[in-house]
Symmetry: C2
Subunit: 349 residues, 2 copies
């Protein structure tokens, strides 16, 4: 996988080189294509759009699994053994996208992710990719949907999205995945550790991790508690009944069970038409998100806005200006910036 | 309150007439100002912005309460008696904003809301206002934050936001309010009716309504169930422990208790600094939302986009085009529309 590191941030390929590489499942080309898609440089957006267009809409024959839980719950290790299970048992290629607010697109972060997923890092059947910060300048989130699409086009049809949480202001992972697995660990007493508020209710399965050596009893207790809590939630629209299990990334306990539930869930949603409905909803949300993102991207990349944005955000937080006055000020700057540019273009013609 | 109906959609006032009326607490002027703010006509936006600017940022000395639950849970009746409690006990003015996807800005809808809130509809101390559909053309949500602001400026410092649910694609009510009250009713067995998935975990209090006549025992059972479910949730960041109660809008049972918990919660958040932090976060979110809304508003009001948007949404849902290709097509239309307009403006000068 060293190739990924070496080829990231190098010179561009041609469109057909990108397309050929992606469809051939070449991981180094895939990595470069993702870098291009995640680029915020104006010059990159046209090529990125063309690559995505070529990748088409390969959503039907694939499965995306969100894996969430606070740091320390053991998400990466669990994904490593789950991914191994998928690769060895189903002979399917696996991609892992890690969305971590603290991570940046650096070699260091990629290395850290790989150290926590030793099997997948060494496997020719796996592709690991950290995504940059959840929310960038101006509140623009990562292009996770696009990255999923391109991974699928490259034949990685099982995609794990690892995330520390699904907040309301971040791009919501729940909206992008077929199955949401919540990873928790046993706490003191009958508590569940590693759960962010608001996530439990939208999870399809809760896995109490680290059920190994002296921790087995506590994990089993925490699982029972989670099971009871799930019982009190209203039924999900898909008809799926969420469940709780114990597992261990070390001993492999529960891994087969988790994967069999994921495939069972997928089969059920496929059969009752909910998967098709989900895809339609995801498509419409994606369409609107894509427009919003482009409009916002044009906005934040305007010179006048770039100069002022960070400061004005600080002023809003400090209460020195109202949110509406600040927004209005920045929109006016944007408008005059655009007009100045248009005139300049006109005079050059 | 007939005045509200008569003056809505009538001719415009001057800025000072709006300002004077709002600060005097004149409900008919308030209603007209809200209509202006909710207007999507280009010509209205400058005046609306000026009115909002004058209203300033009166967020400190106020309380906003979200009241959610599915239709039939009795939200309106409960708000009516809670509002009466606030008016008669605290001598405070009360505003009720109803965000209902099925409601439209029509007299009929206002009348329906008022029929369900007889006390508040007749009170000089109350202002009732339905908001239009949760999400409009192009995914633009209602201007709830702005309407709250202007109600506060008019002296309605206790604001109830009534909503059928807080979905992820709608503008989230949870982000706008200080306290979220979930209204449920007893179901068969130990079930809780009237709860949408994902809401329970973010509620500050669950009120099992309609605990009157033959229904008292069932309500008490449902409350016990809700209490147990709440016990299994992770603690909230503010330090508040959510709780469950029974209540009845008919007999007044539990109304004093609910209000005392709301004020207790407010006092706690004020004391531990969480309210100030909440206001800062709400301010920054508002700033970004306001920019996003303006950018999207400009987009959807472009002639070329308006002609194509509804059809292209259908094509995306039907799978006839990919979300990204559709977004790109519409953005190109928008861009040429803008350039044509700019040239036209130029040639007129």
């Amino acid at each position: 996988m060293d190739r990924v590191l070496r080829t990231t941030h190098t010179s561009r390929l041609s469109l057909s080189q990108y397309a050929d590489g992606i469809f051939a499942g070449d991981r180094s080309v895939l990595a470069k294509a993702i870098t291009l898609i995640e680029s915020t440089h104006r010059g990159d957006s046209a090529m990125a759009a063309e690559i995505l267009e070529i990748c088409g809409d390969q959503t039907a024959d694939s499965i995306t699994i969100g894996v969430t839980g606070v740091p320390g719950a053991g998400k990466s290790s669990l994904i490593d053994v789950l991914g191994r299970h998928v690769i060895t048992t189903c002979q399917e290629k696996v991609a892992v996208l890690a969305i971590d607010p603290s991570s940046r697109l650096t070699g260091g972060s990629i290395l850290a992710d790989k150290a926590r997923m030793p099997f997948l890092a060494a496997s020719q059947m796996a592709f690991i990719r950290p995504s940059p910060s959840g929310v960038g300048l101006g509140g623009i989130g990562p292009r996770t949907r696009e990255v999923i699409l391109i991974c699928k086009a490259a034949g990685f049809r099982t995609v794990f999205i690892e995330t520390v949480g699904i907040g309301q202001s971040e791009t919501s992972v729940r909206d992008m995945v077929d199955f949401l697995l919540l990873v928790a660990i046993a706490g003191a007493g009958d508590e569940l550790q590693g759960i962010k508020r608001g996530v439990m209710e939208v999870a399809d399965m809760i896995a109490v991790n680290k059920a190994d050596s002296s921790n087995v009893r506590e994990a089993e207790k925490a699982r029972a508690v989670a099971e009871i809590a799930l019982h009190y939630f209203p039924p999900s629209a898909s008809g799926w009944t969420p469940l709780a299990c114990v597992c261990s990334a070390c001993t492999g306990l529960g891994i087969g069970e988790i994967w069999s539930q994921i495939t069972k869930h997928h089969g059920m949603l496929r059969q009752n038409g909910f998967l098709a409905q989900l895809r339609r909803e995801q498509g419409l949300a994606w369409f609107h998100e894509s427009i919003d993102r482009s409009l916002k991207q044009m906005f934040v990349s305007a010179e006048a806005v770039q100069k002022r944005l960070a400061d004005i955000e600080k002023e809003v937080v400090a209460g020195q200006t109202t949110p509406l006055a600040a927004a209005r000020q920045l929109l006016l700057l944007y408008d005059s910036d655009r007009q100045r540019r248009a005139k300049k273009r006109e005079s050059l013609l």
